[in-house]
């Protein structure tokens, strides 16, 4: 089992071994509670992990149960027409997989997510169960002050949890760790944009997702090693269309789905686990660290269908993404019952129609297990792009 301390790699470690470790981490959902750092679970998309990290706790991104989990108990608790990630997250709670978690936070990303804190509080009274009220208005001059206040509230709640104050120094130190981590992630994505044959989307995904299961110091070690090995990787070029993938900001598509797409296309950029890369530049380490973090949420951040920002129209963000990634087509997906995703899917497809850019619309569920039909669609899409 990987301890959250472990960072070092033997000289002879291969990229495959690094990926195997990441796979083991990425596919483990259990929080036993006997790890050295208490885990604070948070529901997608973004969470100010630095504050949790500085408290000596481990932020644990809740990413659903995937398609290996059997939902037995949660169906009795969640309405029929609600997305899979709410269902499976509740299941992981009810079946004891998350028993060791110290707390649960969701944010107002959508109405179902807001309910999760309530469900958690009713069923797991021993755990913190709260909403971190990140704002849906990020253009008002008053917003940074508000986020600052809400972060301070979180800081207080966590301090109570661990029984000691969380110092500015501690937060600043954590910010250093996270700045490096996001920088390493950006490097992974850069390499993939430049040469997708060198690093696949599934591999990138596993490398990033592993970070949600260990302390960031450890993850930085993994990413550094991986980057060093990727550079030396020898690959056969293949003739596949370059596409971007959208729709992985909250509920996660099964690995099979990403693989199915990659069988026929190069995914040169995506919004998978976008919360892990939410802050797009270094968080300044001078001044009040919490203020810096709050300000970064507004000034240096990515976009998603569940964050309103009049400065970041969804269509424009997609166009920029495709341009930067030199993508010729887009795969616009949405999770079943994900209202924000479905609304944006329509808006984006209208824009792509107008721009006459080929795109494929897919609907997925984290729990899906059959991919024949999807493969047929993706292959057809690739055939229509290649044989023109």
């Amino acid at each position: 089992m990987i301890t959250s301390e472990e960072t070092g790699f033997a000289e002879e470690t291969t990229l495959l071994q690094v990926l195997e470790r990441c796979h083991a981490l990425a596919t483990s959902n259990e929080v036993t509670g006997d790890e050295p750092y208490g885990a604070i679970g948070y529901f997608p998309v973004y969470f100010p992990e630095e504050i949790v990290h500085a408290a000596g706790l481990r932020p644990h991104a809740l990413l659903g149960g995937g398609n290996k989990l059997e939902v037995r108990l949660a169906d009795a608790r969640i309405g029929s027409f609600v997305c899979s990630i709410c269902r499976s997250t509740t299941e992981l709670g009810l079946n004891g997989t998350l028993r060791g978690m110290k707390g649960f936070f969701s944010q107002p990303i959508c109405d179902a997510a807001k309910h999760m804190a309530g469900i958690w509080g009713r069923n797991f009274p021993a755990q913190l169960a709260q909403i971190l009220a990140l704002p849906q208005n990020v253009t008002s001059p008053a917003v940074v002050q508000y986020i600052y206040d809400e972060y301070q509230r979180l800081r207080g709640v966590l301090a109570e949890q661990v029984g000691h104050a969380i110092s500015d120094e501690a937060i600043r130190a954590s910010q250093g760790v996270y700045n490096e981590n996001r920088c390493l992630q950006r490097e992974l994505y850069r390499i993939r944009r430049d040469d997708p044959a060198r690093l696949s989307a599934v591999e990138t995904y596993l490398l990033v997702r592993a970070g949600t299961r260990i302390r960031r110091e450890a993850h930085n070690g993994i990413l550094r090693k991986a980057l060093e090995l990727i550079v030396g990787r020898r690959v056969r070029p293949r003739d596949k269309p370059r596409v971007v993938f959208l729709g992985g900001f909250c509920e996660q598509p099964p690995l099979e789905m990403i693989e199915t797409i990659e069988d026929a296309c190069f995914i040169v950029d995506d919004d998978l686990l976008i919360g892990q890369r939410w802050l797009t530049e270094e968080v300044p380490l001078d001044g009040d660290p919490v203020w810096a973090l709050a300000e970064s949420y507004v000034m240096r951040s990515a976009s998603s269908p569940v964050q309103y920002d009049s400065c970041k129209p969804k269509e424009e963000m997609l166009m920029r993404m495709m341009q930067a990634a030199r993508a010729e087509a887009a795969i616009i997906t949405a999770a079943k019952f994900c209202e924000p995703g479905l609304d944006d899917q329509l808006a984006l497809s209208h824009r792509l129609d107008a721009e006459n850019i080929p795109y494929l619309v897919l609907e997925f569920e984290e729990k899906m297990t059959s991919f024949e039909q999807m493969a047929m669609q993706v292959e057809t899409f690739a055939e229509s792009l290649l044989f023109q």
Binding site: F81, P108, A142, D149, F337, E339
Partner: protein, 430 residues
């Protein structure tokens, strides 16, 4: 023409109908009369500020529910789905899109004006996605009003507490932006006295509303909160903060108190008092109530009347008209944390309503296309069941999408529920 100037004994229902028609008529002519139009929602809408700038108010939610009542929602929804909207998105949104695609023809025959301003609060995230649709269609930038709700079930932020002040400061800051936006649109400067005047009306309406809700604690219940209550709400949302609104509610208040005095109930033979959780199915509103009232079951109260009453449930806090703007922010914040964001942690409130209204049962209505209302109902029911011995019923349909109403299935469940209540009454009788 307002209620006071009409002569003779007024009937609240007629008066309410007149006000709704007048409201729609005003919207029809708004632009030719050079009046600015705002699209706003029922939960968290800063309507007081808009009134101070004499905006005409469009409530797309109310348009959509009316399309349901008038049985055209099905066509509207199909239009929206033909346009590309998914079967899984809010049917209110799709009905509104359908209306846009029908040259803004409101089912009542009037025409809806396009917005000069659109406000979406964060109390329902679908509001925000909805406003994005208007942005794309009308080019009207959305003003997203972020009103922090409850953070957890036992959340307390009493007036004046640091937490309350922090949240209020945030809301007030956004109000100031909004005022700037309004001044820009209308070319008028903000008049605090006008705001204070509007707030005075709201205060009065809140006082009356609190009484009206309390009247239904009497046995028999004078009105059905899920039928009569809905029409009350429509009027008081549309006329919130106006003299006409106050007069309508006074009329309503007096009528109901007379009924109470006469010991008159909504149903001839009230056998079971029920609490309703969720929103109604407006395409089959009367049918749904009939399925309950035919068994002598009346909805004495509903959480719908707290969160859909536009924040009239302000936890007993009233506007301090001496400092209108600051007070508006404080009350809005409190209202949002008391009532408007409550469906996310509603178990305590429901249990309390069951007590206050001496209810025999609790009915959950899961809405196919509304995550805000329906996500955790089953869990909520589980919680209530395991702690309080009151019978609960869980049924599913939709707000206005006729495709999700299955009469036989609903009747089966509701009949069974009343058989449960009968057996229980029988045993208690022994």
């Amino acid at each position: 023409m307002s209620a006071s100037t009409t002569t003779g004994k007024l009937d609240a229902r007629k008066e309410g109908q007149r006000l709704v028609n007048q409201w729609l008529a005003n919207l029809h002519t708004a632009h030719e009369r050079g009046q600015p139009v705002a699209y706003i929602f029922v939960m968290g809408n800063a309507i007081e500020i808009l009134r101070a700038f004499d905006f005409e108010m469009v409530f797309p939610e109310i348009n959509s529910l009316q399309s349901g009542v008038r049985k055209v929602s099905g066509d509207f929804i199909t239009k929206a789905e033909d346009y590309g909207f998914s079967a899984d998105v809010c049917s209110y949104v799709k009905a509104d899109v359908g209306l846009m695609l029908s040259n803004m023809q409101h089912p009542s025959g009037t025409t809806m004006p396009e917005p000069d301003l659109a406000i979406a609060s964060s109390l329902c995230n679908v509001y925000i996605k909805w406003a994005e649709i208007w942005e794309r269609r009308f080019g009207t930038p959305a003003f997203v009003l972020d009103i922090p709700g409850k953070r957890f079930a036992t959340w307390k932020s009493p007036p004046g507490s640091p937490q309350h002040l922090a949240d209020s400061r945030w809301v007030e800051g956004q109000f100031r932006d909004l005022i700037a936006r309004c001044e820009q649109i209308t070319g008028r400067t903000f008049d605090p006295d006008r705001l204070a005047e509007v707030e005075e009306h709201v205060n009065e309406m809140v006082r009356l509303w609190i009484d009206i809700l309390a009247f239904n604690q009497r046995r028999p219940a004078p009105y059905n909160s899920m039928l009569d209550g809905l029409t009350y709400m429509g009027v008081l949302n549309a006329w919130r903060g106006t003299r006409a609104g106050v007069e309508y509610m006074r009329l309503l208040h007096d009528e109901i108190s007379d009924k109470v005095a006469r010991g008159e109930g909504r149903v001839a033979d009230e056998r079971f008092r029920l609490i309703f959780s969720g929103t109604p199915c407006y395409v089959n509103m009367r049918r749904m109530i009939e399925l309950f009232e035919s068994h002598g079951g009346v909805f004495a109260a509903s959480d719908y009347l707290t969160y859909a009453a536009g924040g009239l449930d302000s936890a007993g806090l009233f506007y301090d008209t001496a400092r209108p703007l600051e007070s508006l922010a404080e009350v809005t914040t409190l209202a949002s944390q008391a009532g408007l964001s409550n469906h996310f942690f509603s178990h305590h409130q429901l249990a309390q309503q069951v007590k206050e209204f001496a209810a025999d049962g609790l009915v959950y209505h899961g809405i196919k296309s509304c995550r805000t209302v329906a996500t955790s109902m089953a869990d909520n029911r589980e919680y209530i069941n395991s702690r309080y011995g009151i019978p609960t019923l869980y049924i599913e349909s939709d707000l206005i999408d006729p495709r999700y109403w299955s009469d036989a299935q609903l009747k089966n469940r509701i009949d069974a529920f009343f058989e449960v209540l009968e057996q229980r009454a029988l045993l208690e009788g022994q």
